[in-house]
């Protein structure tokens, strides 16, 4: 019977998949433990803080990968969600530092005597915890709904997200009386859980929290992208009309993914803010949001691991290079992006899988992994053009 023949390899594939998952979990836990237990012993407080910031940026890279790598929507406006998360946490810290009835210092400069209404809920820590990811999610969801409902796609979507970014930037930059405008909110001297945010022990707490959040977000993204939902995202990227004519409403899926991606960026923003000591409208700089995309492109789209790796590597290179040659970093970043796009279209991870994937799989006793983004690579086109069709 044909079914028997078909069942055998499928069972083998299933076993291999299980093995793969186990190996992955072990690897993730090992890396997390290394980051939490070993790395603090190896690095100075300053370096460790840098690593913590990069890991926070790796979280936002995961969000970008979800929306761009998997769903094919290039967002150039993730700075909005990142900053919203950062502002939410910073506002709580401002209020938490003060006694009952006091106002943050900067309000005095602009003659504000009463706490603006939208600051009020940030007295509550549980509310703030929710706000860090719910507010960006709502903003992303709304923006996404308006854009996707009108079937705005491709480059128009990118331009719109960037335009939204500029709008938010200008708004935050100009509102001294509401959120201290261009100066932003300083968090390093604020008090959190009875300690100064900038203190070594508090920084350690935030560092560990970042590692835990990164693992949690990675797990969330893995879950989202591995099942039917993940295949749906890839399907939307490959052919949205086909999805529609198969009876799915792509708008709903896209709005949800964009909101989740925004929420992830919000969490990243909050963690980044407390580790860098300040949140300001600079986080909504156009270049910063584009950099986020570059990290994912460098690491490898639609791979998750690549997004995290790209964020950490690019930022590490940036801090090393800009320490030594402060002027050349931007050139280097541009060159890096060009090199990756022209020679490694699948990023570091894609290149690694192509070159060593088979050997690694074999060593671990696994079925070979599919490459991401087959359609975009010239090699894939060459494969698709079967000889008999080329003749026609």
């Amino acid at each position: 019977m044909t079914t028997d023949v078909a069942v055998q390899p499928r069972r083998a594939a299933k076993a291999s998949q299980k093995r793969k998952l186990t190996i992955e979990i072990v690897a993730v836990v090992a890396i997390a433990l290394f980051l939490v237990l070993v790395l603090p012993l190896l690095l100075s407080g300053f370096r460790l803080n840098l690593v913590g910031r990069f890991l926070a940026l790796a979280i936002v890279a995961l969000g970008i990968d979800l929306i761009w790598g998997f769903t094919g929507l290039l967002s150039l406006g993730h700075g909005i969600f990142f900053a919203l998360g950062g502002y939410a946490f910073a506002m709580y810290l401002e209020l938490n530092t003060l006694g009952e009835g006091q106002l943050p210092d900067f309000f005095g400069l602009y003659g504000v005597t009463e706490l603006p209404w939208f600051w009020q809920p940030f007295n509550s820590f549980p509310f703030t915890l929710l706000a860090i990811f719910v507010i960006p999610a709502i903003v992303a969801g709304l923006l996404g709904y308006l854009v996707f409902r009108n079937r705005i796609r491709g480059v128009y979507f990118s331009i719109l997200t960037q335009a939204a970014l500029v709008v938010f930037y200008n708004f935050f930059n100009g509102q001294q009386k509401l959120i201290n405008g261009t100066n932003g909110l300083k968090t390093s001297t604020s008090v959190f859980m009875g300690q100064e945010v900038g203190s070594d022990s508090m920084r350690m707490v935030f560092y560990i929290t970042t590692v835990v959040a990164l693992v949690a977000m990675y797990a969330l993204c893995r879950w989202l992208t591995s099942g039917r939902f993940g295949r749906m995202l890839v399907a939307i990227r490959d052919d949205e009309n086909r999805v529609r004519f198969s009876g799915y409403d792509p708008t709903a899926f896209k709005v949800l993914v964009f909101a989740v991606s925004g929420a992830i960026a919000g969490i990243a923003g909050a963690l980044y803010t407390v580790q860098s000591g300040i949140i300001s409208p600079q986080f909504m700089d156009i270049a910063f949001s584009i950099e986020m995309v570059i990290w994912v492109a460098v690491g490898g789209r639609a791979t998750l691991v690549g997004a995290m790796l790209g964020a950490v590597l690019v930022n590490m290179a940036r801090s090393l290079l800009s320490e030594r040659f402060p002027d050349v970093w931007l050139f280097f970043q541009g060159a890096l992006f060009l090199i990756v796009v022209t020679t490694l279209p699948d990023g570091i991870i894609g290149w690694g899988r192509r070159s060593f994937g088979a050997a690694v799989s074999k060593a671990l006793g696994l079925a070979p992994t599919d490459l991401p983004y087959l359609d975009d690579t010239p090699e894939a086109e060459a494969i698709t053009e079967t000889p008999e069709f080329a003749e026609k």
């Binding site: 044909t2 078909a6 039917r228 890839v234 529609r244 004519f245 894939a380 698709t384």
Partner: protein
């Protein structure tokens, strides 16, 4: 009154004043396989757009099983039970055929079911069966980007079936396929027609002949003609549209031409010289300019589709003179190059069916040879 599976009433679609569809009326019964043909720009694809909700009619109504389609969005129409295959194969290239089919097969297409539910075993079994039907079971788990063009076409048809729609809309399923693949596709569609209503849009006339029972010809956004393939191919209006100019060919003359073409095809090789004979006859009869003849030659190869059984054609000859003309033209055609075995067999068969007296036959054969000789 039984409900039509598809009923389109007075639909007009205009884009900035250009009427892609103009007062179109169309209906088909449950379980029918209908082929729609028409020259480029006849509105065939727009017609599918109207049914699937991609384009809303400017005027008129489209009903699917009595439901007004104007009220629904694309994905809602798909859920009503209308599946559409696009002109170029559109599958998810980064997913495997199995995953492609599973996404289509899924019954609960809202977000939460997609997020939290696992694929039910019944659906997995359906997908397995479909993979076998479309001949992709051995490639079920490679990315669809690696499939050949024909396999992608088949996969997309499989995805339609997985949706288990009541009505399949298939846009040019054999474009870019090899002859063998074309025939396979025809068989697949025929077997699907047993349990679905199907609309096929196609250019390939030979393929249309293989699958068609009822054919609708669209022209400039309206229905030009409806009937069986033979009626369509003999209809002067249709010929005019396809040849793109006025012709004075009557259905009877078309019939003669087609019999002659059958003779020419008898050795499975419509040689140029034979085509030339048919064209010469045409041109002498209707005095076409050389340019017209050139374009006619291209159209004829398509129009005079091969392998029409003589049994179908000959009984349609009504008068004695028509029979004589058919004989003469056929003899001319086969004599235009070396008469081979298979041509001789078919010719004998034609003689038998015409039932002309032997002396008439020899007189006509002599006349035909004279004709040929006169032209050198």
């Amino acid at each position: 009154m039984s409900t039509k599976v598809l009923d389109i009433q007075d639909v007009t679609v205009s884009f900035d004043g250009f009427k892609a569809i103009n007062n179109l009326n169309f209906s088909m019964d449950e379980g029918e396989l209908r082929v729609i043909i028409g020259p480029n720009g006849a509105g065939k694809t727009t017609f599918l757009d109207v049914i699937t909700g991609k384009t809303k009619p400017t005027e008129g109504v489209a009903y699917f099983k009595g439901q007004d389609l104007r009220k629904y969005k694309e994905h809602e129409i798909a859920r009503l039970g209308i599946g559409r295959k696009f002109q170029t194969p559109r599958v998810y290239l980064n997913l495997t055929p199995r995953e492609n089919l599973e996404l289509s097969c899924n019954r609960e297409k809202n977000i939460f079911a997609t997020l939290f539910k696992k694929t039910p075993t019944a659906e997995k079994r359906t997908v397995g069966g479909l993979l076998e039907t479309i001949g992709l079971d051995h490639k079920a788990d490679v990315p669809a980007a690696l499939l050949s063009h024909g396999e992608k076409q088949w996969l997309e048809i499989g995805m339609l079936v997985a949706q288990s729609p009541d009505l399949l809309l298939v846009d040019e399923p054999v474009a870019g396929l090899t002859d063998e693949e074309t025939e396979q596709t025809g068989k697949l569609l025929m077997s699907l027609a047993e349990s679905h209503s199907i609309v096929v849009i196609e250019h390939d006339m030979e393929f249309v002949r293989q699958i068609a029972r009822q054919v609708t010809v669209l022209h400039q956004g309206s229905v030009l003609f409806e009937g069986t393939m033979d009626q369509v191919q003999n209809d002067p209006k249709v010929i005019e549209v396809y040849l793109g100019k006025e012709t004075t060919l009557t259905p009877e003359q078309m019939l003669l031409l087609r019999i002659a073409a059958t003779m020419a095809w008898a050795d499975d090789n419509f040689a140029d010289v034979q085509q030339q004979v048919i064209l010469d006859r045409l041109s002498r009869k209707f005095a076409h300019s050389p340019e017209d003849q050139a374009s006619l030659r291209d159209d004829l190869t398509n129009l005079l589709a091969k392998e029409i059984p003589l049994e179908e054609l000959v009984p349609q000859l009504t008068t004695q003179s028509q029979r004589e003309e058919a004989l003469m033209l056929s003899y001319e055609v086969i004599s235009s190059n070396q008469i081979n075995q298979s041509e001789a067999v078919v010719y004998q068969k034609l003689l038998g069916m015409l039932g002309l007296p032997p002396e008439t036959v020899s007189r006509l054969e002599a006349a035909a040879l004279e004709e040929l000789a006169a032209r050198g």
